[in-house]
Amino acid sequence: MRQEIVLPKLDSSMEEARIVSWEVKIGDTIKIDDPILIVETEKSSLEVESEVEGTLEEIVVDEGETVPVGTVLAYVSSGKHSTEQKGSSDHNPVKEENISLGKTERIRVSPAARRLAKQRGVDLTKIKGSGPRGRVILKDVAEAAANVVNQSVKTENKVIASIHAKGKRVNLTSMRKTIAQRMTASFMNVPQFQIKKRVDVSSIVQLRQAVVSSIEHSAGVRLSFNDFLIQAVALTLKKFPRVNASFIDSEGDPYILEHEDINIGLAVAIDDGLVVPVIHQADQLSLIEIAEKRTELVEKARKGLLKPEEMRGGTFTISNLGSVGVDEFVAIVNPPETGILAVGNIIEQPVLTNRHETLIKPMITLNASFDHRTIDGAYGGRFLAQLCDQLQSGQWNIFSTVK
């Protein structure tokens, strides 16, 4: 029997890895837990241990190549298994296979899709082709491969099929499909809870008004409210490592991974979709640096020029719909992140002070959603309270960061 060695996900943010070296060669006997190859991820070099045993039969991915998680790297033939098969003389698996092949319908696959499926270890029989006559094409395999990585769920297509709606059929763009899959996965797999808090942002509004034009003049960048939000969230996350974490549902042995880096994703709406460019290590950036990075990424996002690495590695997401006049809203967690912050419009509202005076203050409503597997309500509540304190504190690293 032939078994696959696939590129395992070795850490939560790992999406791909470069094969540095093979430690075994074709013909070698491999036991479970034997180190078989060394890979290099964005973070480090790691040893991959075998999960199967047998003889190394074929190496599919050569040294130096970079491939996504889940890709078949090699095939191992298990001598034990095959002997067993040969042993049962009145059993003819080949014949049986032929019979079953005869029954199955031919799968139409484009050559490029077939190659990608082989590279990524995608089972073509499980894919519904979107090409003519059901032909499986590149896009289908790429999406299926992404699904394997994201462990997304199967959509109940039957429900949709039962709707006999009149109207215009809109085919999904590949981005729409990705959003659909990821959000479905989040909704189905991640138990989420929300916490809401209103916060007075007058100090930010005032500070921003005071410095925005001089900074624009000197640094060439225009500070936005979002930049303050990003810094505030980043600084708060530093104190709440469990929010800056991921729940890793590795089979049979789930664990929580607290991330070293604080990487803030900012949801950016674009035509028929959204992207989430990531500001890496936002806790270590000044407001001006955040503003510069944010300006660059948003612009790229709108032009569709974001590089994959600019959308990778997020540990927390901010979604601000203030610009479209939303008072408040609730967002869905962006896995494998634990938290997402939904920010509404700045609204002038009456606030009752300690001395029972009513003042009109610029207020926003924050709704934070969390993965309940990682944290509980109280921890989430404390995080949000700390964030609100930060937003009202007037303590900002405008020009440089306090390390």
Binding site: S110, P111, A112, I137
Partner: protein, 334 residues
């Protein structure tokens, strides 16, 4: 590289190439009908008769077999004839001299003889010239070992490629397009050549590869512009020469886009589009995500009526349709 750019027409660019090569090499002579003091039907040889004289710019009788044959003999014995065949359709009366003679001399003689001869001609439809003056016959020549086939799409390419063709040292069929003669483009003042067998990416894109040449390059670029509005990013490869064929550039592109549309003005069946499609499936099968689409003229002679002609010849909309088919945006009929 281009320091002093000028805008000149395709016809002028060809004229300049001839003039420069004639000035450079006494062995270059011109032969053809009405090319002398008349300057050629499309005015490509204008002024050359006055400059180089009747010994080198030779008006011929209407006698294609005779003067192409004479061109072969002259090329074998020390001259470098550049022959103008007024319409590519007329080359058919001289096919023996082109295919049995010019194309085979070097080989039959075991390399003793060479035929450094260029046959300049013009093809294509678009101006109501009817069935015997509108054909795109490049495939006929490209099918014959021993002939090189060039079909430029811009003034810049026309000049650089013609100069190289004259220096090539073997028979070259240089096919101009009648609808391009008045088209203008940048051509540097200073001398340059473009090697044969090097395709040019006229527009780079990532979603689909359009492989084409001659006038269809223009149409393909227009199609690409339209497609861009729909978010489709097409790459347009101008092959420039069919022989030698730069299949590598095509394959590189297919690796990126996974989809190919071949566009030629010649009738679709048995056209060179089929050759490109075959080469891609032989050499880049695993890069394909969709069947190679071909856009070409309908398999009929070119009708005279301008509306019928336009419908019969490939247009921008047909290229757009071909691209959409290739992208499965327009499902093929089962």
């Amino acid at each position: 590289m281009m320091s002093t750019n000028r805008i000149i027409s395709y016809a002028q660019a060809i004229n300049e190439a001839l003039k420069e090569e004639m000035a450079l090499d006494d062995r270059v002579i011109l032969l053809g009908e009405d090319i002398g003091s008349y300057g050629g039907v499309f005015k490509v040889t204008k002024g050359l008769f006055d400059e180089f004289g009747k010994e080198r710019v030779i008006d011929t009788p209407i006698s294609e077999t005779g003067f192409i044959g004479a061109g072969v003999g002259a090329a074998m014995t020390g001259l470098k004839p550049v022959i103008e065949i007024m319409w590519i359709d007329f080359s058919l009366v001289a096919m023996d001299q082109i295919i049995n003679q010019a194309a085979k001399m070097a080989y039959m003689s075991g390399g003793q003889t060479s035929v450094p001869m260029v046959i300049r001609t013009q093809g294509g439809g678009g101006r109501g010239n009817g069935a015997q003056h509108s054909q795109s016959l490049e495939t006929l020549f490209a099918h014959i070992p021993g002939l090189k086939v060039v079909a430029p799409s811009t003034p810049y390419d026309a000049k650089g490629l013609l100069k190289s063709s004259i220096r090539e040292g073997s028979p070259v069929i240089f096919i101009e397009h009648k609808m391009l003669y008045s088209q203008k483009g940048e051509v540097p003042e200073e001398e340059y050549t473009i090697p044969l067998g090097k395709a040019d990416i006229k527009r780079s894109g990532k979603d689909v590869t359009i492989v084409t040449l001659s006038r269809m390059v223009q149409f393909s670029l227009e199609a690409a512009k339209e497609l861009e509005k729909e978010g489709i990013d097409a790459e347009v490869i101008d092959l420039r020469t069919l022989v030698p064929l730069d299949i590598e550039t095509v394959k590189e592109s297919v690796k990126k886009t996974n989809r190919v549309v071949v566009v030629h003005e010649a009738t679709r069946s048995y056209g060179w589009g089929a050759e490109i499609a075959a080469r891609i499936q032989e050499e880049a099968f695993d890069d394909l995500d969709a069947p190679v689409q071909r856009v070409g003229a309908e398999d009929v002679p070119v009708p005279y009526n301008l509306n019928l002609e336009k419908e019969m010849l490939p247009q921008t909309k047909d290229i757009i349709q071909g691209v959409k088919k290739s992208l499965y945006l327009q499902m093929e009929t089962v």
